[in-house]
Amino acid sequence: MDASYLDLLMAQQEQADKQHPAPEEEVAEGGGGGIWVVADVVDGAVAPVTLEALSAARTLADSLGAYVYGVLLGGGVTDLAQTLYQAGADGVRVASLTADHPSPAQADKQHPFALEPYLKVLSDLFEAEQPEVIIFGATRQGQELAPRLAQRMGGGLIEHVTAVSLDEATRTVQASFPIYGGEYFEIAACPEARPQFLTVEPGAFPAPFIDSYRKGEPTMLEIEPVEPAVRVVGTAEDADKQHPADKQHPADKQHPFEPPPVPLAQAPVIVAAGRQAGDFDLVKQLAAALGGRVAGDRGARDAGWIGPEQIVDVRGVMVAPQVYVAVGIRGDTFHNAAIEDAKFIVAIHPDPDAPIFQVADLCLEAEPKEVLPALLEVLEE
């Protein structure tokens, strides 16, 4: 078959769908069980962590012989239901909101995260549906909603899950979560209590297969407006000026809130430049794109790009970041010993014999001047 015939078939299918819309998914009496994913919405789109959660849910559902359902919370998120269908959800519920109760994603810009209405909606929904597993993303929403819901419903919760497997005999999810920041993983399970709650770590699960021809009709849920218990009173700056007469902390009036600085030795992401880095501006841009700090070796200091307190060396600063990108650093023993506790090291250097390649996890034998611009472009997508 050639492409045009395929297009014809698809067009016919769409016509058929318009005339006979797909029936709403059946909900068994007494709760259909299933694997439910509560979606995170960021910047008006479904967050990547939700899609990854759906892929994990799909794997579990296929082994359990259950359905996957998604829940969207917020205002103006109804269209996003299609994304969930395409990522593998068999059913979607949307808790529709008015402007008074914005979604968690729009929270804090104008109003605080409206915990109470969401809790009520979700607990009513789950009381009726009796899910086997409920999955959240390990985000602010997951951090606030999942434990309260679990406590309310008497379920067990495992947070920051990076891998799941199934104990089919008892239909129990065995979840791995990192210990001491990923030194090793522990596996826990909730053998009896139901529902089982999980929050999944962003980036831990693979992205699901997106079937762009899949569609569905989401079910709308009602929300009872409940006054939020936690109110936003302004930015941190405003807090310093708030209620001066009420303030019982004279010390705080003199020392307004400053976000605590993170010293280089504790920074989670570091991009370091060496003599072969070429254009230091690119290094700075990469650091900004990754949300990391700029550092360098002694060669960078000699070139005047960094100050002495940014030198990564046993004679300078010892660092232990999650990610260390060495751009154009040759990597002598004294530099390499200072990064031995880094979790993931990337090295970009033109010389294939550079010692940095012996300690790096990912080695790019290339000119930084060529790779960095392409990298910055890809990261912007």
Binding site: D43, D108, R140, A236, A251
Partner: protein, 270 residues
């Protein structure tokens, strides 16, 4: 006003070596430290006590074999500490769901509290559920992930990161918002949020010498046995694969950049 601080202990990670090849965790030096986030929560409580003269009571986050962390809290400035002895059922292995109920009952037995402070996350397992679970068990509002906490006229105010993160011109402070809730409330404090104070030396020695410095309550008096079965159980350990060093990426600069971006995106959060 009464503030309750929930404290836990954790094995000092510098005494642990993980051997991925052998698939074992070697504990070279078994030393326990106060959870860093709980230490900041205690500091937040003590700062409020400094200016308002409130009472600070320390409770354990989970069943403990000894009352060391509670004595540390007392010597740093807490007024009372209560050790929860568990002879009942499975308490020594209870998880957060059970402890939330136990602690809620303990707070009731104390005669209530105005603010409950605890760490936002644990150092080893990175679980932040205890605070919200306790808030639910008590039916109180929760403020999660605070950098700074203070009480103002029957309300508690906290500064925490805006969600989603706001980008401001000044880059720094605009990312943080001030929120408030009516008392009573549960607040969880991030590790590294405040600089904790050191315990007073003489007080420390006296507290450790006094046998009855920490009160002892039995869990059986607080919650009935049926509620004490933990919901979670440990099923084993898993070790990340040996670090694959020296993985070469080849190709055109564009291909290299793509591969690198994929690897970085996975590891750099947010």
């Amino acid at each position: 006003m009464r503030m309750v601080v929930i404290l836990g202990r954790v094995l000092d990670p510098s005494g642990i070596v993980v051997n991925r090849r052998a698939g074992r965790v070697f504990v070279n030096r078994e030393e326990y430290i106060l959870q860093p986030a709980d230490r900041c929560a205690l500091e937040a409580a003590l700062r409020i006590k400094d200016t308002t003269g409130a009472e600070v009571v320390a409770l354990p986050r989970s069943p403990l074999p000894d009352d060391d962390v509670l004595r540390q809290a007392l010597s740093t400035g807490a007024d009372r500490a209560v050790y929860l002895a568990g002879q009942v059922g499975n308490l020594p292995h209870a998880g957060d769901a059970v402890m939330a109920r136990v602690l809620a009952a303990a707070v009731e037995r104390l005669g209530g509290a105005d603010v409950i402070l605890t760490g936002a996350t644990t150092l080893d397992t990175d679980q932040s559920q205890l605070g919200p679970r306790l808030a639910e068990a008590l039916g109180w509002p929760q403020i999660v992930g605070a950098w700074q906490v203070e009480t103002v006229n029957g309300r508690v105010q906290a500064v925490r990161q805006a969600s989603p993160p706001l980008v401001g011109e000044d880059g720094g402070k605009a990312g943080y918002v001030a929120v408030e809730a009516d008392l009573p409330a549960v607040v969880t404090v991030l590790p590294g949020a405040l600089k904790p104070r050191y315990p007073d030396g003489v007080r420390l020695i006296n507290i450790y010498r006094a046998e009855d410095a920490v009160e002892q309550w039995d869990v059986g008096d607080l919650v009935d046995e049926a509620a004490l079965r933990p919901l979670l159980e440990k099923r084993g350990q898993d070790f990340p694969p040996q670090r694959e060093r020296g993985v070469r990426v080849s190709g055109t600069p564009e291909e290299m950049a793509q591969a690198l971006a994929d690897a970085l995106r996975q590891r750099v959060r947010g």
